[in-house]
């Protein structure tokens, strides 16, 4: 080893903006979905609170939700949630490979099964909720 190796510094705050590594931005987009998932969960908690307080309070919650801000927030949360779901399901074969005998179950079958269950669960929620 030479006695003067050169260390290239990486910015701790802007590393993901590296124009040659677009995958870093995709990763950060995936991570940032948690802000929307978290905020949306607190919206659900508020809904639960108003639900516990009775019909009038719950109607008040619905009226507050019926606003440009409410629609906008739900739209943003929808984009984030869908991005989270797809990015989550797409890597399931890596995290949980399934071996049958000598061969591994092909990744697209594992991912496909998740998408199928996702569709069924979503349908049930929409039928129950609407």
């Amino acid at each position: 080893m030479s006695n003067k190796p050169y260390v290239r510094e990486v910015s701790k705050t802007t590393w993901f903006l590296n124009p040659q590594q677009p995958r870093y931005k995709r990763y950060m987009a995936r991570e940032v979905t948690c802000i929307f998932i978290g905020a949306y969960t607190f919206l659900l908690i508020v809904a639960l609170k108003r639900l516990a307080e009775g019909p009038d309070a719950f109607q008040g919650f619905l009226n507050a939700l019926h606003s440009p801000l409410g629609v906008l927030f739900n739209l943003a949360a929808l984009v984030a949630a869908v991005y989270h779901s797809t990015s989550w399901f797409n890597v399931t074969p890596q995290a949980m490979p399934i071996q049958r005998g000598e061969e591994f179950v092909p990744g697209n079958i594992i991912v496909g099964a998740h998408y199928a269950v996702w569709a069924v669960v979503s349908l049930i929620i929409l039928i129950l909720g609407i």
Binding site: Y6, R8, V10, Y24, Q99
Partner: protein, 247 residues
């Protein structure tokens, strides 16, 4: 023979005279079937004998010619010139200190590799007369993918968490620990867990997934690390919530 003139921009650093690296450009007449390593060899033989870089096999087996090509970690022996434009930028592997030109300091990786005990630790010592350790094809398949690692360190160059936290043991070393943990002949998992089930071990990983995307041998270190996380989490819950269950 089709030939194409390309501009090869190489990051140069001479520790004796330079305070920081600088790019040097070479005009290289490349044949159609050339890889970036061929272009570097052309420079070394015909244009500039002072250029330093590592290479050996020229066939993606030795793992020594990894470098950043247009910002992406690549084996220069697998990076075909025809897939690039007329200007190609070559830098030493990211996240490693530069020793000289394209040669990096790799001692950190070697030390981490040693720490994870990447070799078989049999459950019990058997005399040779007791015969071989047998393994079924299915048991072999369980870890075979991870044996393909050639220690080229492209995964470390791709990993932002390694860049941010240099103590992180990193993709290849943990994937290799996983390879031996998955081996039916091995009994060394407890010893390796002491090293990899730590904050600087697998828990520094946030599953960016870049390591697997750049791996020239399709080892999928990112997958290995997630599997280590799942197994370590099950360990933790067993140890703390069900202490009466023997490991």
């Amino acid at each position: 023979m089709s030939e194409r003139q390309i501009q090869l921009e190489v990051l140069r650093y001479d520790p004796e005279t330079d305070s920081e690296p600088r790019f040097q450009s070479y005009a290289v007449p490349c044949k159609n079937e050339w890889v970036v390593l061929d272009a570097l060899n052309y420079v070394k033989e015909n244009l500039d004998t002072t250029l330093s870089y590592r290479w050996s096999c020229h066939m993606a087996v030795c793992g020594s010619c990894g470098m950043m090509i247009n910002g992406e970690p690549k084996l220069s022996c697998k990076a075909f010139i025809r897939e690039y434009s007329d200007k190609i930028r070559v830098e030493p592997l990211a996240n490693f200190p530069i020793e000289r030109d394209l040669v990096t300091v790799v001692e950190d990786f070697i030390a981490k590799l040693t720490r994870v005990k990447p070799y078989l630790i049999p459950k019990e010592d058997k005399p040779i007369s007791a015969g071989e350790f047998k393994q079924t094809p299915a048991e072999l398949m369980k870890y075979k993918q991870y044996t393909l690692c050639i220690n080229c360190m492209l995964c470390y160059a791709a990993c932002p968490e390694y860049a941010l936290v240099p103590d992180f043991i990193g993709p290849a070393a943990i994937a290799l620990a996983h390879r031996y943990n998955q081996d039916s002949r091995d009994g060394g998992r407890d010893q390796r867990q002491e090293v990899i089930a730590t904050d600087e071990g697998v828990w520094e990983c946030s599953f960016v997934g870049a390591c697997s995307e750049v791996c020239p041998k399709h080892v999928d270190p990112a997958g290995a690390l997630q599997q280590v996380k799942v197994a370590s989490t099950i360990d933790w819950y067993k140890e703390h919530l069900m202490p009466w269950v023997k490991k």
